[in-house]
């Protein structure tokens, strides 16, 4: 059970139950839909970018606890960040969730609760869907799929 607890930590269950920024930004400057065909997770991400800064970010959709919590945590993490900072964060997050379980990972603050996903290779896509969608939105690609 121990690594199951690593995966379903309180913070994740809380973000799943009460996702932050769970809405749509009307007249958003950037938008993308993310889709995980393996499990049917869908999320729609909207951003308000002002200059080089993510002034607001929100998501809606349906998905498993991991994908929903990850999206919720991501929106909190990138809000107020510059585009460069957000993309750098994606890189660090991606490295964290794909590092083999035995190896040490960087402490990413709140985002570290998702490090447990490393024990569950098929769930890594769930955790990274929101981030791939963020990158697609910033790259002006309107759709992204994790397959």
């Amino acid at each position: 059970m121990s690594n199951l607890n690593d995966l379903y930590q309180e913070v994740i269950l809380d973000h799943n139950k009460r996702p932050r920024n769970f809405r749509t930004i009307a007249g958003a400057s950037h938008h993308a839909d993310g889709f995980n065909p393996l499990c049917g997770d869908k999320l729609s991400l909207t951003l308000q970018v002002e200059g080089e800064t993510i002034a607001d970010v929100a998501f809606q959709g349906s998905g498993c606890a991991i994908s929903k919590a990850s999206a919720s945590l991501m929106t909190d993490a990138v809000k107020g960040k510059s585009l460069g900072e957000a993309l750098a964060l994606f890189g660090r997050f991606h490295a964290m969730v794909t590092t083999p379980p035995a190896e040490p990972v960087e402490n990413m603050g709140k985002l570290s609760v998702l490090a447990g996903v490393r024990e569950f290779p098929v769930r890594v896509k769930c955790a990274s869907l929101a981030w791939h969608t963020l990158k697609a939105a910033l790259d002006r690609k309107e759709q992204v799929s994790t397959e």
């Binding site: 995966l7 379903y8 269950l13 139950k17 499990c39 049917g40 997770d41 998905g63 498993c64 929903k68």
Partner: protein, 427 residues
């Protein structure tokens, strides 16, 4: 054996003791499947993902080993002894499988890679050549993607239209609406014998009667049905029937297409190559006779032989016993699983078999799958390659427990215990 055990464990749930028929001994059957002895995450494996693929009995595994140990050679070539033995075994496998489906001739049994290839073969070689703009193909709302996409491809190319017969909230085909879709433009009806996402068994005989009354040919997709019930293609009256070996307790990569001889005879080849020809010159080639016309290239020889061993094994157990046992597991599972707070079963057709598709309030199926896996319980989660079914029921996905002959009530109990753990994690 299970009857008595299950009877003791059956505490006031209103479920009757197991109704296994005389001579059906699930514990003896379990001994035939070596993988059932292994542990997963420290727990005994509880394999409830049979609708995806079934486990293999030792006799199938031994047959594959024996093929490569003793007789490996290419078929229909060469006069040497091994080639003769391999050819004999390969063609013998076809006869075994013909008998299993009660086709009238070996020429009506085509080996394919899987059911998907069988459907594509019929779509491309039977329907496509004569399909015209405005023609229609009728499928149902509960089809697996494999019985949707091949038809979409030919419809798109020829400007034909794919029409979808609806189902009701229980996941039953609406037969009146189906009949209403049939008209003088309908060129083909393709429908699953049993739904992989819902467990619904479709009334193929009735569908055939309605279609044939209008001169419309029918393909039934038996991917799910063929390992749960006796399939008699002549009694069903279908023109084409497809099945896949790996769900019939056989190897992957081998499937079966049954087609009426007269139809197959009139069809052009699907794939070209060796073995499917009678003569080749650079100007023109002529086709081999049935069934070889549709089997281009070196076939999956050990797959066919392994599949024959698998259907022999199924026949030795008998569908009477298998059907009663699986019915008992489905009834018991349905009763037990609905005692768990928040569980709702998707697919409640009056005629269904062996599949429990369900959702849990506020818990995504993917999370269910991960948590029960840690208890050694293997279920499928997702859209089951039937996205339109999920849309019909307004859900993104389901968790699906699917039973085979070797499952037990104790395994259903293990699933229920694991699902209670899901509720604990998400409490």
């Amino acid at each position: 054996m299970t009857s008595s055990l299950a009877g003791i464990r059956d505490t006031g749930s209103g479920v009757r003791p197991s109704r296994d028929v005389a001579g059906f001994d699930v514990q003896r059957i379990r001994q035939d499947f070596p993988i059932l002895r292994r542990l997963v995450h420290g727990h005994p494996l509880v394999y409830l993902d049979n609708a995806a693929t079934t486990q293999k009995p030792q006799v199938v595994i031994d047959t594959l080993v024996r093929y490569y140990t003793d007789i490996n050679a290419n078929v229909h070539r060469g006069v040497h002894n091994l080639s003769e033995l391999a050819t004999e075994a390969y063609d013998g496998a076809r006869s075994t499988i013909r008998a299993f489906f009660n086709a009238s001739s070996d020429r009506e049994i085509i080996f394919t890679r899987n059911a998907t290839e069988g459907i594509n073969l019929v779509a491309q070689a039977f329907v496509r050549p004569s399909l015209k703009p405005g023609d229609e193909i009728v499928i149902s709302a509960m089809e697996h993607h494999s019985n949707i996409v091949p038809w979409q491809l030919v419809c798109e190319e020829r400007g034909a239209r794919l029409r979808v017969a609806p189902m009701n909230d229980r996941g039953e085909l609406e037969l009146d609406a189906f009949e209403h879709l049939l008209n003088e433009r309908t060129r083909m009806v393709a429908i699953s014998h049993m739904s992989n996402a819902l467990g619904t068994i479709n009334p193929i005989e009735e569908i055939v009667r309605l279609a044939h009354a209008r001169g419309i040919p029918v393909l039934a997709d038996g991917s799910q049905a063929a390992y749960h019930m006796k399939v008699d293609v002549q009694a069903l009256g279908v023109d084409f029937y497809v099945a896949t070996g790996h769900k019939l307790y056989g190897p992957t990569g081998i499937g079966v297409l049954y087609g009426r001889e007269a139809l197959l005879e009139a069809m052009p080849p699907f794939l070209g190559g060796g073995d499917m020809i009678s003569s080749v010159t650079f100007e023109k080639s002529t086709w081999n006779s049935l069934p070889y016309k549709f089997e281009a290239g070196t076939p999956h020889i050990e797959g066919a032989i392994g599949l024959a061993a698998a259907v022999d094994y199924i026949s030795s157990i008998g569908f009477e016993g298998i059907g009663a046992h699986e019915r008992d597991l489905l009834d018991y599972g349905t009763a037990q699983i609905t005692t768990i707070p928040g569980v709702r079963i998707v697919g409640t057709a009056s005629r269904k078999a062996s599949i429990l598709s369900f959702v849990m309030a506020d818990v995504h199926p993917h999370d269910i799958g991960t948590i029960v896996d840690r208890e050694g319980v293997a279920v499928r989660t997702g859209h089951h390659c039937a996205q339109p079914v999920m849309e019909r029921f307004c859900i993104p996905a389901t968790a699906r427990a699917s039973f085979a002959m070797y499952n037990t009530r104790e395994e259903v109990d293990a699933l229920v215990t694991a699902l209670r753990k899901v509720n604990e994690v998400f409490a």
